[in-house]
């Protein structure tokens, strides 16, 4: 096995490390810790954070890439599979391998389209049995409903068992920490008498366990969400899409931040011709339709990748590079709003007396920018970061729809929606592709939005905290 680290993998690792570092810093800084506690203390905020955390966990599993070892005979160099797999692929190998020829509805055992099948020398057009779904059923028409229900129930019970285990663990931890009995700790959690809304978190976790238990149990023998045009299991595809969405959300934001913050602070504090130039740049960028800008850059990029095939040894490298650059482009074109916001705030702060006191001490401009101004606009940056995340996830969907998004070979919500739109007009309609993509993307973006609301409320000094 050979570990592969793609470009976006580095980014994910970097973001994880930076988040951990920031969390550590928050814990050491009292005022930050209390503000963040406020964000998590809101029940909706912590529920949304729990859902987000689950999505992120899936995304991280999908980030640990490797290539399978094919042969390792002594004397020759080991050869590796051309396919780059991830830990998630390994966990969902059954679903990944269970391909069909084309569309099939959720939990179906027959294909969506009739095919000519030759049995006993006679050719008939029938709905063929699926290759990898419901094969264990003797008489599917009769047994399927009962089978689905039993399997689903067993899975749900397993899921609830895991949730119960987590609840026990939490209670034990809580009672250890408070030095109180297990029963007392459990009744505290159950009646919501804890500082953090543990009851809500536990409830969210239970719902997640219940749903994933059911889906996982069913996905062994069925295509829970159906299959797409080339017969891929949609459950697998949608799981893979999560990482794409998360990477686009975080990496684009990451590209945006330094540009927006740096230019915004410089323009606001220094003023004069620097301010004029920066304002000019973002006014110009804002007046170009961003789809046009992105389309042009993506085309240039695709040509570059085609011309330098040696730089990208596998298909995964190629699609990953395209994702990476798409994020960079998205980031480079969406910094203007935040920049304008920060510039305005800095113009206000520039007149603050503590800045003037620093000037009276002859403190260097660089230090005023980094020590006095940056920490005081940090709340703006943070708020805009969480809010723009969901915007960028949605932007990917739009771009893929116009055909300039991620590589068509890469699973993403955008490509899913794009392929689904034409099939909606068929009769009977193929609704499941769109429904699956929509509900997962909706959950992701909604939880990101709710969480960002909670963060904004906590960091906004004007918000009323009763």
């Amino acid at each position: 096995m050979k570990i592969v680290v793609l470009w976006t993998d580095w980014v994910v690792f970097f973001v994880l490390a930076a988040t951990l570092l920031y969390a550590w810093n928050v814990l050491r800084t009292p005022h930050l810790a209390s503000t963040w506690r406020k964000a998590f203390a809101s029940p909706t905020g912590s529920a949304a954070a729990t859902v987000l955390a689950a999505f992120v966990a899936i995304g991280v599993l999908d980030t640990l890439h490797y290539r399978r070892l094919l042969s390792n005979s002594t004397g020759t160099a080991p050869t590796y599979g051309t396919e780059t797999l991830s830990l998630l692929d390994h966990l969902l190998r059954k679903q990944q391998a269970g391909k069909e020829r084309s569309y099939s509805a959720p939990l179906a055992y027959l294909a969506y389209e009739k095919e000519a099948v030759t049995t006993n020398g006679e050719t008939r057009r029938i709905y063929p049995r699926l290759i990898n779904a419901g094969t264990h059923l003797q008489d599917p028409a009769r047994d399927r409903a009962a089978d689905v229900i039993t399997r689903g129930l067993v899975g749900a019970i397993k899921g609830m068992f895991v949730a119960g285990l987590l609840a026990c663990l939490l209670t034990w931890f809580k009672s250890r920490r408070n030095g109180r009995g297990l029963a007392a700790a459990w009744s505290d959690i159950r009646s919501g008498r804890t500082r953090m809304p543990l009851r809500v978190v536990l409830g969210t976790v239970s719902v997640l366990c219940f749903l994933s238990g059911t889906v996982l149990a069913l996905s062994v023998e069925y295509h829970v969400f159906g299959t797409d045009r080339v017969g891929n299991d949609l459950f697998y595809v949608v799981m893979k899409s999560l990482r794409t969405a998360l990477v686009i959300g975080t990496l684009s934001t990451l590209v945006t931040m330094p540009i927006a913050v740096g230019l915004g602070i410089l323009a606001g504090y220094l003023g004069g011709w620097i301010d004029e130039v920066i304002q000019y740049i973002y006014t110009v960028i804002n007046s170009i339709p961003y789809v046009l800008l992105i389309a042009a850059t993506v085309l240039i990029l695709m040509t570059f990748i085609d011309n330098h095939a040696d730089l990208f040894p596998t298909a995964a490298n190629r699609t990953d590079a395209r994702l990476f650059f798409l994020c960079v482009i998205l980031g480079m074109t969406s910094w203007t709003d935040l920049c304008r916001l920060i510039r305005g705030e800095v113009i206000k702060l520039r007149e603050a007396e503590y800045i003037q006191a620093a000037q009276a001490f002859g403190v260097s401009t660089w230090r005023i920018l980094s020590v006095h101004l940056l920490p005081n606009v940090m709340h703006l940056i943070l708020i805009s970061m969480v809010i723009s995340f969901s915007g960028l996830v949605l932007a990917e969907a739009v771009l893929s729809y116009v055909g300039i998004g991620v590589d068509p070979a890469m699973q993403s919500f955008g490509t899913l929606i794009n392929t689904a739109r034409l099939e909606l007009s068929r009769k009977p309609a193929i609704w499941w592709t769109l429904a699956t993509a929509f509900s997962f993307m909706f959950t992701l973006v909604l939880s990101a939005n709710i969480f960002s609301d909670a963060v904004r409320d906590a960091f906004d000094p004007r918000a009323i905290h009763n």
Binding site: P30, H31, G271, G272, E276, A352, E353, Y354, Q356, A357, A358, Q359, A360, F361, G362, V363, S364, R367, V371, H372, P375, N376, M378, H465, N466
Partner: protein, 612 residues
């Protein structure tokens, strides 16, 4: 006519229930001006809001009654209360700028009030509004009625507010710090206007203020509030001739004026208690110089002293009164005035001129200039205090900033300013860094002048790091420790953030920051005007003590004549960007020559009874 009986107002916050007003009982007679006096957080404004039932959502009147001509306002339905507001009780607020709606003409706003509360409509209402504008002294009311509030000065806005409040001819007016945001000359006009309207209409006024000078000028009776309670109640004459409560005595002693020159002010130690706690003894006991065991154990009642005077202090209890020790003698500042001639010239400003460019048009070309400071010249000797006095907009702060070279990028500065012979206006970066070691600044607002994201230790260290890079880490720590001792802050405050401190403590941090690089000149830009009187006295004492100890010179920018009288050796009076009169403070303040100085000094309200 208005009678508060055991009024108790509670505010519910995340820190607990704040009893902002606790058991306030008082009555106000028709035609009388009652002044409710207290420092910030004493509950005086909440009392006013309880009367009009305009309390914020998280507050309510928990007990007691507000009787207006026999009707208990606390029990009224909101619909009925609305009729009382405006028609019977009117209110004017502190900030005239935000009390008027900027997108409506002032006429619309006054006419709306008139039409809501009287039978007048249309042209009749308009002529009534014009009439009121004339009565509050707005020139050309027929024309000004169609202007917007931003086209008026602060004083005019407050006049419009008064016109609006009085247009319904209420019997009772609540004025919540009506002149605090205004300059003294304007303050005098507004107070005179209120008094003449009161005489004319025979209405009662509840005046809420922190300024004992204003009280002495306009009030008939006085109530002093401390920590939600009324601690002393009496007529103005009784109060000023024989204040009884130690807190009232302390407030009067803490006011800086010419008679206290050379003495330390009687700063009341400590700070006001938080109102979330349950009190057992007298609320003032922890800060009182005469407190006894009894004061800490049981709460005193309001003891009557004659027909109209009452005080909440065991010193005046009818049974077993405690002895109130005399206020400690004022300590004469050792040799504060003996070295007036000693110092050399430290700072000399010569024909200083500051102009701000006006930019307009597409390319932001400079199309003109606003003169902020015009040919200002003065000298400041070592170890002395020069006060720059003037009203808002007179250019005194701009002068200070120009000397500190904080305006290099935003204004055109001409003329010269020399610090120990070094010309500051043309100094290069390295020379300026050296000069900055000699001069520092303390700002007005202790909440805006400290970076909220830095710890106190980092704030104090910054100047040393920047201007004295040769000092080692150990040396810095020693210096900072010594600074904290000098300004009277505990050593453990270094790791805390500014928001954990009170206003007075923050100002001490700001002073320590300025002192960190051992400057010889400190520009004090209204350093006490955002503070309560008792805290102001602490800070003034500190500044004076530091001057004696370190021989530092102050360029003291202020509008507070009392502070000038108390602290300054020399005074320069500024008006419209020019110094109109300058000289030794004793001479200038006792016999002003320039007409503006005379007007200014005449307008200053004094916290004592007028002679005769």
């Amino acid at each position: 006519m208005l009678k508060l009986d055991q009024l108790r107002t509670e505010i519910y916050s995340s820190q607990g229930t704040v009893v902002a007003v606790d058991g306030v009982t008082l009555d106000i007679q028709p035609g009388e001006t009652f002044a409710l006096v207290g420092e910030s957080g004493s509950g005086k404004s909440v009392t006013a809001l309880s009367i009009t039932r305009l309390l914020p959502d998280n507050a309510r009147v928990a007990a007691g009654s507000v009787l207006l001509d026999g009707t208990n306002l606390v029990d009224l339905a909101e619909r009925d209360m609305r009729r009382y507001r405006g028609r019977h009780i009117a209110m004017i607020f502190q900030e005239p700028a935000t009390s008027l709606n900027p997108v409506l003409t002032i006429g619309r706003q006054i006419i709306e009030v008139v039409e809501t509360h009287t039978e007048l409509r249309g042209a009749a209402a308009r002529s009534k509004a014009i009439d009121w504008l004339r009565r509050v002294g707005i020139p050309e009311p027929e024309r000004r009625i169609d202007t917007y509030s931003f086209q008026m000065s602060g004083g005019q806005k407050q006049r419009v507010m008064i016109a609006m409040a009085l247009a319904t001819e209420p019997e009772f007016l609540i004025a919540d710090e009506p002149t605090t945001a205004l300059d003294v000359t304007v303050q005098k006009q507004i107070l005179d206007l209120l008094l003449s309207l009161q005489r004319e209409r025979g209405m009662s006024i509840l005046l809420i203020t922190h300024d004992l000078g204003v009280v002495a000028q306009v009030a008939d009776r006085v109530g002093i509030m401390y920590a939600g309670e009324l601690v002393e109640l009496g007529t103005k004459d009784e109060f000023f001739s024989r204040p009884m409560h130690p807190y009232a005595n302390g407030l009067l002693g803490a006011l800086p004026d010419v008679e206290k020159r050379g003495h330390t002010l009687e700063a009341i130690p400590g700070r006001a208690p938080t109102l979330t706690q349950a009190f057992h003894g007298c609320r003032f006991a922890p800060r009182c110089h005469a407190a006894t065991e009894r004061c800490r154990a049981e709460a005193p009642a309001l003891y009557a002293q004659g027909a109209t005077h009452a005080v909440r202090c065991f010193g005046f209890a009818p049974t077993r009164p405690i002895a109130i020790a005399a206020v400690p003698e004022r300590v004469a500042g050792a040799g504060a005035h003996n070295r007036r001639e000693a110092g050399e010239v430290l700072l000399r400003a010569d024909k200083l001129r500051v102009r701000f460019p006006i930019r307009s048009g597409l390319m932001q070309r400079i199309t003109g200039y606003v003169d902020a400071v015009h040919e200002v010249s003065f000298e400041l000797r070592q170890g002395q205090t020069l006060a720059l006095v003037g009203e808002s907009g007179s250019g005194k702060t701009t002068t200070g900033k120009a000397i500190l070279q904080l305006l290099r990028s935003s204004a055109v500065v001409e003329g010269s300013a020399t610090l120990k012979g070094l010309e500051l206006m043309t100094a290069n970066a390295r020379q300026l860094l050296g000069a900055r070691r000699q001069m520092q600044i303390i700002f007005q607002d202790p909440f805006g002048s400290l970076n909220p994201r830095m710890r106190v230790g980092e704030i104090l260290e910054e100047g040393i790091l920047s201007l004295l890079p040769e000092v080692t880490a150990v040396g810095r720590a020693q210096r900072i420790g010594a600074l904290l001792d000098k300004v009277g802050l505990p050593r453990n405050c270094l790791t805390r953030y500014p928001h954990e401190f009170s206003g007075g403590q923050r100002q001490r941090i700001a002073i320590a920051r300025a002192l960190a690089v051992d400057p010889q000149l400190i520009i004090c830009d209204e350093p006490t005007s955002a503070l309560d009187v008792s805290v102001q006295a602490q800070i003034l004492n500190l500044l004076k003590g530091l001057q004696q100890e370190l021989g530092v010179a102050y360029l003291f920018i202020t509008h507070n004549i009392g502070v000038v009288e108390y602290l300054a050796d020399h005074v320069a009076v500024m008006q419209g960007g020019r110094i109109v009169e300058a000289g030794l403070s004793a001479e200038l303040l006792s016999s002003p020559r320039h007409a503006y100085t005379q007007t200014l000094l005449a307008a200053v309200p004094r916290a004592r009874l007028k002679a005769g």
